[in-house]
């Protein structure tokens, strides 16, 4: 088994925790050779898990072929198949897992189940060179402040209800914004927020190290509907409050752990305003500030492939009979022997 650092050993990674179906080919020495994706866009409302899973099943073959062709890699060059085993939406996860099991058995190569949150952290570290950061992982489904301690990525703070990305999405839909393919709601809110001038007071909820966004969401929608400010003003205020909460909790984790780096990862990491606020606290604590590049920020197959490679190289693989998905798999339940610390 060519399980080494060789550039000629490749892992195929499958991501399907939510609305994205992604397949990527990554070499064992950490080069992303392809990162194909097809995203499910609901006609109205949020992600319907079964509809999204149906989408994933429909595009699977196309995305897989694209990933192999772009990477110029033949199926027999693949020596490991990694898939997102959780956390996420059950039907979506199962679609990706089914594809991964079939591929692993057809190609006769090992299978490794990857924790989606670990994927976001590891791809951020790979792309930025961060070694031991405090990580703020922000997306549609997760909001987690973590740092590595004693064998695991420990959670220092997290949302008590909805994720920040979900908060922005639901707000955008509630005020009548339209989603476009390739332009997530977060980007639309960010654009509008730049035009905002007047701060509308909204609830700021930090409980110890944890956060809550549901009250903020309701208040922001109400502020718009009751005309307390223009749409731009409310977008501006929503971002200021939500991102200040995230920054405060990250700063506390940074002060507590005294880590040398701050890493921002996940889909919401693309937001420039959030980047600038975290940059300020990183500088104040003499920490290097690292942001995952845009192409690897949202859910993608490359992060699953890379986290799979790291796990596999430290002796971890997932036998088919243990490859059932875990929709609530927590970050700190993952033993991470590949991290030095």
């Amino acid at each position: 088994m060519p399980a080494n650092n060789s550039a000629r050993s490749y892992c195929l990674g499958i991501e399907s925790t939510a609305d994205d179906f992604g397949v990527a080919v990554v070499s064992f020495d950490g080069k992303v050779l392809s990162n194909a994706n097809d995203s499910y866009t609901p006609k109205e409302g949020g992600i319907h898990p079964r509809e999204a899973a149906r989408h994933h099943a429909e595009v699977a073959e196309k995305v897989l072929t694209e990933a192999l062709e772009t990477a110029s890699v033949k199926p027999r060059d693949i020596c490991l198949v990694a898939f997102a085993q959780g956390p996420g939406l059950g039907p979506c996860l199962r679609t990706g897992a089914t594809a991964a099991r079939a591929l692993s058995s057809y190609l006769d190569v090992p299978l490794v189940g990857v924790n989606h949150c670990v994927g976001h952290i590891e791809i951020g570290k790979l792309a930025t060179g961060a070694a031991d950061p405090v990580t703020l992982y922000v997306s549609g489904g997760n909001t987690i402040v973590s740092a590595f301690e004693a064998g695991r990525y420990r959670i220092f703070g997290e949302t008590l209800d909805i994720a920040i990305g979900n908060c922005l999405d639901v707000f955008a839909r509630a005020v009548g914004l339209q989603q476009k393919k390739g332009a997530p709601f977060g980007a639309i809110v960010e654009q509008l927020a730049r035009e905002g001038e007047r701060f509308v007071s909204l609830p700021y909820t930090v409980k110890g190290m944890d956060l809550s966004f549901s009250g903020l969401l309701t208040a922001a929608v109400n502020a718009f509907q009751s005309k307390k400010g223009s749409l731009e003003d409310v977008c501006f205020s929503l971002q200021e409050v939500a991102f200040s909460m995230l920054t405060e909790v990250t700063e506390r984790a940074l002060a507590h752990t005294e880590k040398p780096e701050v890493l921002l990862t996940g889909g919401v990491a693309a937001n420039k305003k959030l980047q600038s606020m975290l940059g300020v606290i990183a500088e104040e604590h003499d920490a290097r500030f690292c942001v995952v590049p845009l192409r690897l920020a949202a859910d993608n197959g490359a992060m699953i492939a890379w986290a799979g490679i790291l796990a596999y190289k430290s002796g971890i693989s997932t036998p088919i009979e243990k490859s059932y998905v875990d929709v609530k798999w927590r970050l700190e339940d993952v033993y991470a022997p590949w991290v030095e610390g």
Binding site: F199, S201, Y204, E240, V241, S244, E248, R252, H256, M277
Partner: protein, 216 residues
């Protein structure tokens, strides 16, 4: 602030503590500095809310029968709280070195005081032995209510005591077990056996969550 000494004694992520003189008294000034990443409107709002909230809860705790520093002056605009300087030592410094009977007495006393807080719907939010001062008269004064909140629910009470347990395990690991047992005994004296049973059950549930998997 009237001249005098002005020594930074603790710099946290949220606030700094200074030793000062105030009308010829030795006092602690807790100052919440502005945060550059926040817009001024929000920054002022958060700092002033917390500057109002903390003395309020400190006063409530005192009413519940838990010794806390006396608040001398609150400057909401500057986000400053001036409070009594409590003479004594942090429980953290003495717990491991005192005689075994005294260690048990202190643990029981901590538990009784935590029980009084919870009985009155006050969650401290940061229960560690460094946030408790042992006075020369043998009383324990609770300080730093910066993360406190009001709640009558079981979950935050369980989290509060779980934090206490973790603080004992990390800082006073030699005596953590006996100390926490006494904390819970003292707690029961304040809130009753039935409520203590429910809270203890909650603590077990919290520990079993993935979050605290290392302590399983």
């Amino acid at each position: 602030m009237g001249g005098g000494i002005n020594v930074l004694i603790k710099k946290g992520a949220e606030a700094s503590l200074y030793l000062e003189t105030w009308h010829d008294r030795k006092v602690i000034m807790k100052r919440r500095h502005p945060k550059k990443y926040r817009i001024p409107e929000l920054d002022t709002m958060i700092r002033s809310q917390r500057t109002v909230h903390e003395p309020h809860i400190i006063h409530e705790a005192k009413k519940a029968g838990v010794p806390t520093p006396t608040i001398l002056e609150v400057d909401v605009a500057e986000a400053n709280i001036v409070m009594e300087y409590v003479e004594g030592k942090q429980v953290k410094e003495v717990l491991d070195t005192v005689a075994p009977e005294e260690r048990l007495r202190l643990s029981g006393l901590m538990g009784r005081m935590i029980g009084r807080l919870h009985k009155h719907g006050i969650i401290h939010g940061d229960l560690t032995t460094s946030n408790m001062i042992l006075t020369p008269h043998g009383k324990i004064v609770f300080v730093d209510f910066g993360l406190s909140e009001r709640s009558e629910e079981l979950e935050p009470k369980g989290v509060d005591l779980h934090l206490m347990k973790r603080a004992l395990q990390s800082t006073h690991y030699k005596h953590a077990k006996e100390c926490f047992k006494e904390v819970m005994k003292g707690y029961a004296e304040s809130v009753g056996q039935e409520e203590t049973k429910k809270v203890a059950e909650k603590i077990r549930e919290i520990e079993k969550r993935g979050r605290y998997v290392a302590e399983r």
